[in-house]
Subunit: 324 residues, 2 copies
């Protein structure tokens, strides 16, 4: 159970008077959240999600909340924050920052099809383009600098083989990650459980992009690499060519990928694998006191990193000119 | 058929590249519009309505479009304008101003129930409160001054009895409409065809408030009077007490009505009836060249005006203290 802050119906109904959402009709805690307390919230006006932030401070939140509002008003299907009568998206409930967002329909696709990978690629490109007019600017907080700092913290906990792999990958990234790729606000965590497809999860219309709380400015290609590593993995840890090419081709049709991005693709896939191996190592070896972060298996991303290292020519755009 | 500006799929698909809405999947003209060209628009991201403005100029539109955006982000179910990649809600298509808004589900209720009148009353009060933080300010353009000017224009076309009724009502309004009532942005045209209820029109959840192109700052009570005259009319032209009291009680529970508003209620119902009698007379006797405005029967609102004049004690809040 991941609802940390208990709220009564009376507290919630009183707090809702700050909003123009009509009377409270029902609410229930959501078990999935791992960093916040989340509640489904039904009012006379519709269905919403209430988030009470357990870890992020109020001053950290406007970048994320305003980004979601920006993307939603541009037609990107993401949770749209609801403004209170004082015009602010961010409120305070039981002494913690809180926000109400629209509740999106649909289901995630644990085993995405080629068509779903294509739909997601097109949506990711649309999101990158829509975010270009967003005024907020914040670095992606889990970029190369974070990787170096976190590696230093977790290295003492690793056995010799893992330590060697980590040191070697940091060295490789320092030498091979180019500095001149197209940049912008990225989602940075677009795993399968953060995407909803309409209806029963079998459709190909992307009905929701969720959880923008890792978003920040970085190489746009990094977003594609994170996404490919999760969405297009084959059983052997390699990238499934058909799904990867569908993801990239649909993205490319909306935001054309550059020659520089093509050249950077193998290194970027490794960078994306490294980032999640590191955060999982950190969660296991250096858990934050009082935190209830779900501990995911770091070995999964060590395997993905090794597979990316082994594949010097990963799938790219499926065109005659791809040069493989 | 009310689609005046024909658009091809090719023109629309090319124009849509200014937005982050994904590929065009289908579109169809909407027959109901009478002042604009409206199209249903399906894209990879969802369902929308495209409006091409045939009468309003671009400089007149930001007040209305930004109002809808403001209300939508506060949780009032109204069409939400979609921003283009340049961040602007207003675009230009075939030389005319154009906007894309979200398409709301639901149906209108031609024969509203008591419960639907209550739901609408609560929603109208929420809308009035949410609009208080809207920065745009524009007078309601069909207020008392417009009534006097329009009366002068249509009087030459009226027979003696109608002319006498009109002159007498203008005199009455000049003497009896108070100047100190709570004011704010009102919808000003909340007829039954501008409200959607969820599902099949039989539900009581208001799923949409439509057509804000008459909105402006006026007495909030005027909005209630327009609404009551249309939603709560009995077959004899009088106000049905049960529906009127439900509308007002639900409104009152969200924004308490004042003693001044109670005193002004009979005159305000007459003012609302007068405004629609006048616009219908104007549409018939002084049609704008090239306009295809639907001509509605002025006699319907003459009858409503007469019924309101005859009823010095119209239904008000159903409470022991209502003083009837």
């Amino acid at each position: 159970m991941s609802v940390f802050t208990p709220v009564s119906a009376e507290q919630l109904a009183a707090w809702l008077k700050r909003y123009s959402l009509g009377a409270l009709q029902g609410f229930a805690g959501i078990a999935e959240g791992v960093q916040n307390s989340n509640f489904f919230l039904d009012t006379a006006h519709g269905r919403y999600v209430l988030t009470i932030f357990e870890q992020l401070a109020r001053y950290e939140l406007p970048f994320y909340v305003n980004l979601m509002a920006h993307l939603a008003r541009h037609g990107i299907p993401c949770p749209a924050p609801v403004a209170a009568r004082d015009n602010d998206y961010l409120g305070e409930l039981l002494g913690k920052p809180a926000v109400i967002v629209t509740r999106l329909g649909g289901r995630s696709a644990p085993h995405p099809s080629v068509a779903q990978c294509a739909a997601l690629g097109a949506m990711l490109a649309e999101m990158h383009l829509a975010a270009q007019s967003y005024g907020g600017r914040q670095a992606h907080l889990r970029g190369p600098a974070w990787c170096r700092e976190t590696a230093a913290l977790v290295l003492p906990f690793l056995d010799e083989a893992d330590a060697a792999l980590l040191r070697e990958e940091l060295r490789y990234q320092g030498q091979h990650r180019p500095g001149e790729l197209p940049r912008g606000v990225i989602h940075a965590d677009l795993f399968r459980d953060n995407v909803l497809f309409d209806e029963d999860g079998a459709g190909t219309r992307v009905g929701g992009l969720l959880d923008f709380y890792f978003a920040g400015v970085d190489d746009l290609l990094f977003d594609l690499a994170v996404t490919a590593n999760d969405w297009c993995a084959a059983p052997d840890g390699g990238l499934d060519p058909e799904r990867t090419e569908a993801l990239l081709a649909a993205y490319h049709a909306t935001r054309p990928l550059t020659a520089g991005e093509r050249a950077a693709w193998p290194a970027m896939l490794r960078a994306a694998a490294l980032r999640f191996w590191l955060s999982r190592l950190q969660d296991i070896h250096l858990p934050r006191p009082g935190s209830m972060v779900l501990q995911r298996d770091p070995d999964e991303y060590r395997a993905i990193l090794r597979a990316r290292i082994a594949d010097a020519h990963p799938p790219w755009l499926a065109s005659p000119g791809r040069g493989r």
